[in-house]
């Protein structure tokens, strides 16, 4: 087999796969953030905690109620999304007329409280969540071994991301959403219930985070800090892609996951910071982000 710059293909492909998996999580999470920011103008710092809650709800469903992975993939986003809706109605909705900073402070505070609660009850050592039987094992692709579950994570993320993109860009419901993102007042003046749309959109964005959390549960251990570690990178991804751009969030998410994976192959020392370096460069050259509009 060929070697590239002295790197065996197995290593290259292995890191590419890890990159693609990280990218899947970046994409689903930054997509949720972009959807929420677009309509609510709120930078949802609770997103990481909601991703963690997604994983925990899946774990609870299994361990307390005996409900397995596949139903959890649907139920957990519904449960966490519903909690998100309650937060939006009771707290976040009071901040829409104020500066971004207040929304950021509120959601950041909520994240700390939620993570603190989970740490208190479940500790920080992490809880195991088994890969569902149907997705155990793997495929030998010749140049590398692909664990089935990891392949599924990538496929599921791609489907959810592009499904969301399609819904927002190509359907009538999406047209309402896009219009309300541009000019909520006028959309309201046409008789459309914008506050309800905002609430449901927040619930949906939060549900996306929880979905990513369920996907993550069998790969990473279910841990109260799992979201806090990831969300910092995801915010960098959102800044690079451009706040509020749907396709931008998806492509940047997958793209940066791959870039990170490649860096791990060719310059391992830089892999932890490469996304932040790219963020700094993008901010200097195109502050509105790669896919953002300058207005």
């Amino acid at each position: 087999m060929f070697e590239l710059l002295g790197v065996p293909p197995q290593v290259l492909m292995g890191q590419l796969l890890i990159g693609l998996i990280n990218g899947s999580f970046y994409a689903v999470l930054s997509l949720g953030l972009a959807v929420i920011f677009g309509l609510l103008n709120i930078i949802n710092f609770t997103h990481g905690a909601q991703y963690m809650m997604g994983a925990f709800v899946a774990w609870m469903l299994l361990n307390y109620l005996g409900i397995g992975y596949w139903p959890a993939l649907v139920l957990s986003p519904l449960v966490v999304g519903a909690i998100g809706i309650v937060l939006e109605r009771t707290m976040i909705s009071r901040l829409y007329k104020l500066d971004h900073l207040y929304g950021l402070l509120l959601t950041f505070g909520l994240a700390l409280i939620i993570q603190g609660l989970f740490r208190n009850y479940y500790g920080v050592s992490g809880l195991p969540y088994a890969i569902p039987p149907a997705l155990q094992g793997g495929q030998n692709l010749g140049f590398m071994f692909l664990p089935n579950y990891r392949g599924w994570v990538i496929v599921a993320s791609v489907i959810v991301c592009f499904g969301t993109w399609f819904m927002i860009e190509k359907t009538r419901l999406g047209a309402y959403l896009r219009a309300a993102t541009e000019n909520p007042e006028l959309v309201g003046a046409f008789g459309i219930n914008v506050p309800r749309m905002i609430t449901l959109t927040y619930g949906f964005g939060v549900g996306l985070a929880a979905f990513a959390g369920v996907l993550a549960a069998p790969i990473y251990s279910v841990n109260p800090n799992m979201g806090a570690d990831l969300i910092i990178v995801v915010f960098a991804v959102v800044v690079i892609g451009g706040m509020g751009s749907i396709m931008g969030a998806i492509l940047t998410g997958f793209g940066l996951g791959i870039v990170e994976g490649l860096t791990r192959v060719f310059y391992p020392e830089g892999s932890a910071v490469v996304i932040f370096v790219i963020m700094a460069i993008v901010l200097m050259i195109k502050p509105e982000g790669l896919f953002g509009s300058s207005t």
Binding site: A175, A179, N183, L186, G188, A189, F190, G191, I192, N193
Partner: protein, 248 residues
């Protein structure tokens, strides 16, 4: 005094059969107090204009009627029902629609999506086919991005989309602003045709020649109040006065 006099006064002011009755309307943008007690009324099937200088409060009056201000006070009755404490979406559902000054075409929506955005509120709105018949340009460009249309086409789209909803009461804010004379004529014909069909229209205009060609009555707005009313047939007799109001 007798009942007859009261009757007469009421008929003269014409508030009795008013579809829209605005009295003592005050309005705010944030902290700034813009409307200081606007009074006027519009009867079913009438076309009425609000004339006045820039910053007199015409657009604000329209927005206040639609429920689009941060804060409003006074009374706005629509078909006899008080709407002052209602939100814009509830007012809209009473069958009133706005075509805003900046036209409000959504750039992230195609022409067709823009057209279909406002939900139908009544069954007898114009069908999409009929709208494309009236405004063939829109049909040709229905897949384009809404804001890629020319100014005139955007204005057509802004009017067309509220005709689709079935609302029979339209608030049009400077529909002729910045448009070529031939487009202004087309909009004038559209408004006259709507009047024929029984629509009620409140028109904000700077172009009072245009206003005179379509309206029944004109209200003059100054510093957040209605200061005068001139019936269209008395416009010539009052032209001096009107020029003084408008500062032309």
């Amino acid at each position: 005094m007798t009942d007859a006099t009261t009757m007469e006064t009421r008929t003269e002011t014409g508030t009795r059969d008013a579809l829209l009755e605005v009295s003592g309307l005050e309005g705010w943008y944030g902290e700034s107090h813009v409307l200081h007690g606007v009074d006027f009324h519009v009867k079913q099937g009438e076309v009425v204009t609000l004339l006045g200088r820039n910053g007199a409060g015409k657009t604000t009056t329209i927005k206040a009627i639609m429920g689009l201000l941060d804060k409003r006070r006074g009374s706005v009755k629509l078909g006899g029902r008080e709407t002052i404490s209602l939100q814009a979406r509830h007012i809209a559902r009473m069958g009133i629609a706005i075509c805003p000054e900046e036209r409000g075409i959504f750039s992230s929506l195609s022409v067709e999506e823009n057209l279909h955005l406002p939900p139908k509120l009544a069954e007898d709105g114009l069908s999409t086919d009929r709208i494309f018949e009236l405004f063939p340009n829109l049909k040709e460009r229905r897949r384009s991005q809404g804001t890629k249309l020319s100014g005139g086409e955007q204005q057509m789209l802004a009017i067309a989309r509220i005709l689709r909803t079935g609302s029979k009461f339209l608030l049009l804010d400077e529909p002729t602003e910045g448009l070529a004379p031939v487009i202004v004529q087309q909009i004038g014909r559209t408004i006259s045709a709507l009047k024929e069909e029984g629509f009620t229209i409140v028109l904000v205009e700077q172009n009072f020649r245009f206003a005179a060609s379509v309206a029944d009555r004109h209200y003059v707005v100054e510093q957040g109040r209605v200061v005068d009313m001139i019936p269209n047939h008395a416009l010539d007799a009052n032209i001096e006065k009107l020029h003084a109001y408008l500062g032309v």
